[in-house]
Amino acid sequence: MMRIPCPHCGPRTQSEFIYERTLDSVVPLNAPTEEAMAKLFTRNNPRGVDDEIWRHTYGCRAWMVLTRHRVTNEISGCRAIGPEALS
């Protein structure tokens, strides 16, 4: 079980978080069908570092982008996103 550095709460155990999807599979509003479906269904699955969206659901409930090595689970960054990131 990983320890995730929530940008708002500090390091917390993984069971407080929920994984959403990789950052590159976020479908922007009004994306053309082809682009939207490519993002949803033909995603990369890199053996290495990737940016992922997580939510501190059982904590501050904020979303964040976690930069994680998918094999070693090393976390090299975690940044806030959304309105909370501005405050």
Binding site: M1, M2, R3, T13, Q14, I18, E20, V26, V27, P28, L29, N30, A31, P32, T33, A36, M37, L40, I53, R55, T57, R61, A62, W63, T72, N73, E74, I75, I81, G82, P83, E84
Partner: protein
Amino acid sequence: MINFRFDGKVYTAQAGDTLAAALLRNGIGLVGRSFKYHRPRGIMTAGIEEPNALVTVGEGGRAEPNTRATDVFVYEGLVAKSQNRWPNLSFDVGAALGLAAPALSAGFYYKTFFGSAKKWMFYEYFIRKAAGLGNAPTLTDPDRFSQRAAFCDVLVVGAGPAGMQAALDAAEGGKRVILVEQDHILAPSLLRDSQEQDAAWANATAARIRAAGGIILTRTTASGYWEHDLVTLTQRISEPGQVPTHDVAQRLWHVRAGQVILATGSIERPMAFAHNDRPGVMLSQAVRTYVRRFGVVPGKRVVIATNNDDAYKSAEALKDAGAQIAAILDARPAPAGANSGHRVYNNAVPLSTQGARHCLKSVQALVDGKTMDWDADLLAVSGGFTPVVHLHMQAGGTLDWNEDAQAFIPVSSRQNVTTIGGAAEPQAIFKMVPVSSPKKSFIDFQNDVTLADVDLAWAEGYRSVEHLKRYTTLGMATDQGKLSNMAALGRLAQKQGVAIPEAGLTTFRPPYTPVTMGLIAGAGAKDAGAHIRRLALYELHAAKNPIWQPLGYWFRPRAYPISGESLAQAALREAKAVRNNVGMTDVSTLAKFEVSGPDAAAFLDIICATTISKLAVGRGRYTFMLREDGIVFDDGTVWRLDENRYLLTSSTGGADRMATHISYVRQFLCPHLRVSAVNVQEHYAGIAIAGPQAKAVLTALIGAEPPRHMSTVPAAIAGVPVIILAASYSGERAFEIYVDASQAEAVWVACESEVFAQGGTLYGLEAMEFLRIEKGHLVVGGEVDGRMTPHDLALDKMLNKAGGYIGASGLSRPALSETGRRQLVGLEAIAGDIPEGAMLIPSEGASPQGHVSAAAFRIVTGGSVALGQLTEGFSRHGEILIASSPTRGQQARVRVVAPHFYDAAGERYRD
């Protein structure tokens, strides 16, 4: 003196004995039968690596099969049984299998049972009886298992001299320390060998660690090393099979450590020679442990076989205890190490043993190329030492080959872990190559794998160590390579003609020692881990003794039976009351979101697939939401409470999913909008009042004309502010009343007295299901099943023509508008009752063309009706099909109709 039973007979043990020590103390040499060949086996080790002495400890639900006799401390009344034998341990019919051993070689099952599946089903029964270990208990474990989280700066695993010193230094250096030891005493090796420190040092050190704030846990095993220095500890509070003093048998710790120090020591290796598995063959350090720690001398006339200095200490211990050392067989070519007058043979390796079922009689060895024999009842062997690197490897560590010790030692890890003591610096040994016949030379005692099996796997083309493991079952079960790994690797490397490090290693996976399933489940074992969410009005419902129904994490009244009614009778009475008069029900569990701000309408136009922005203040409408791929995933209603304030409701079961979805869309896709979306599911309690008399009830409650259908007004009931929504799920004139959950009781009581005054009743989920099926309303998880588009559900006319909602682009995929899709239909029975879940087939034996998603009855007039999905269903109204449920053994002839069985025009809820 402690009394215990083994295979029905009562024996006595000394305080502090392991079961293994107690059995040896009572002269019991034969304790188990081997896994495959049913060979007689005795106690081989004094630690958790014991491969042979597996017993079932305890009785009933408390029984723990496959407990190593070396890892349970005897308590008064302990009951242990040997395993894998019939009718008894001494005379085991299965031992005849041993005679058939040549036929049971590696890959036996693969080679023998590749016929039809039926054949395997036949053989499996007998194989499962013949091979295998203990039986899992069939009763529920009466004990509790607790879990606990902890944090520390330094976690030290292993309380030997090195671990205790490290823990002391850290604790007195101001660090928060946890020290764990799997034994029930600290530094047990100090009782085995006199070293610089002694038992008094261990006690004093423990006292200093505790005085500095350190935590010391005995009978606690660090069983798993996970990501980011999380280590799971399994703590035995009571021994296996023992009645715990305070209910809790074991505790699972999740420890997040700043740094982990592994002082896990090493495990002594057996040697590979013929009949090396006979009772009476024991590891050298184990012999010394029994002699010095437990005061049990496991043999009178002993041969010692070694390739290192350490075994000479065992000779001293045995001599001090009065045993006779017949010979020391030292594999090294020239004398080395301390020798105090024993008969030492150099260049000497064991070849074979002879003996009876219960004991060893003689040892044969090759000395300088000549065969020699000794009478002996104990053979102590030391084939070297394997550092315990399991946790280091689970932490993602790497290993280095140490040629002197012929062992892998830990090097580095990406986690914050270091290894100290014997696990980092194993003793030097002399490299040996087995010379004895490989056929009975066991390398994995627990799984009955011999050197010959490794040779056979090699001959059949299994080159990788991972393949070798799976083909021969080497290193599986509780062994996990502890004893077997190095012998197998040595043989594989020999076959490959490479050095051992090049032969590769199998993966080290948690747990290090077996973990009880109940411990992993913890307190969640009894309710499958689900928590319970209670309604704000729970007490009021409970007072009426309803039948409860789980719905997500919630429990809601399913029906309120009176005077011995069945569920179906109660639900039908309640539904009839709604159709004919008035009923009320608790709808508090619906998902609710308050969406406010200047861009609230724009935000809802993104979330919802219907147009929200044109809704007038005080009005509401039905809506549904799509996934990004265009499939309907939830539905509900949306109400404009104020200029910039909306209330959105959606399904109970999808509430948490919808909350996440709304938050994701808000923060990732439209952070630019000036909108706030707050989950108010539990802030509001909800009460629905439905039926022809609902309007009269509402008028009396609020003292004014209630809102028209799909309108909302603020009001007060019993002096409490409420929001009234006029919406109908039942098909009758109906209102939903939302009230601050903390003030809901007064409102419920007021509503109830008014409903009862009208001759109405309470209704539950079952009646609500009858009502909505008859009306043809959808339910998420039923008709909305994650496969249906708005068109499939006949909702497409409501789609927002302007687009821009989530799922609009996914919905335009060509496949979603092709012909041949399943579509929502109504079904009415011509003969029989329609079974829920039934397949829809055109004739007997034909392939299914759809299914029944929900079945009920016409509430007032009777007759079975249902909702379903049918291929091209919209154009098949009038067709006759069979609704067949083979699993229920029921079927009905049905007619396909429109999915509205009641008031299709919707006249009953309009003014």
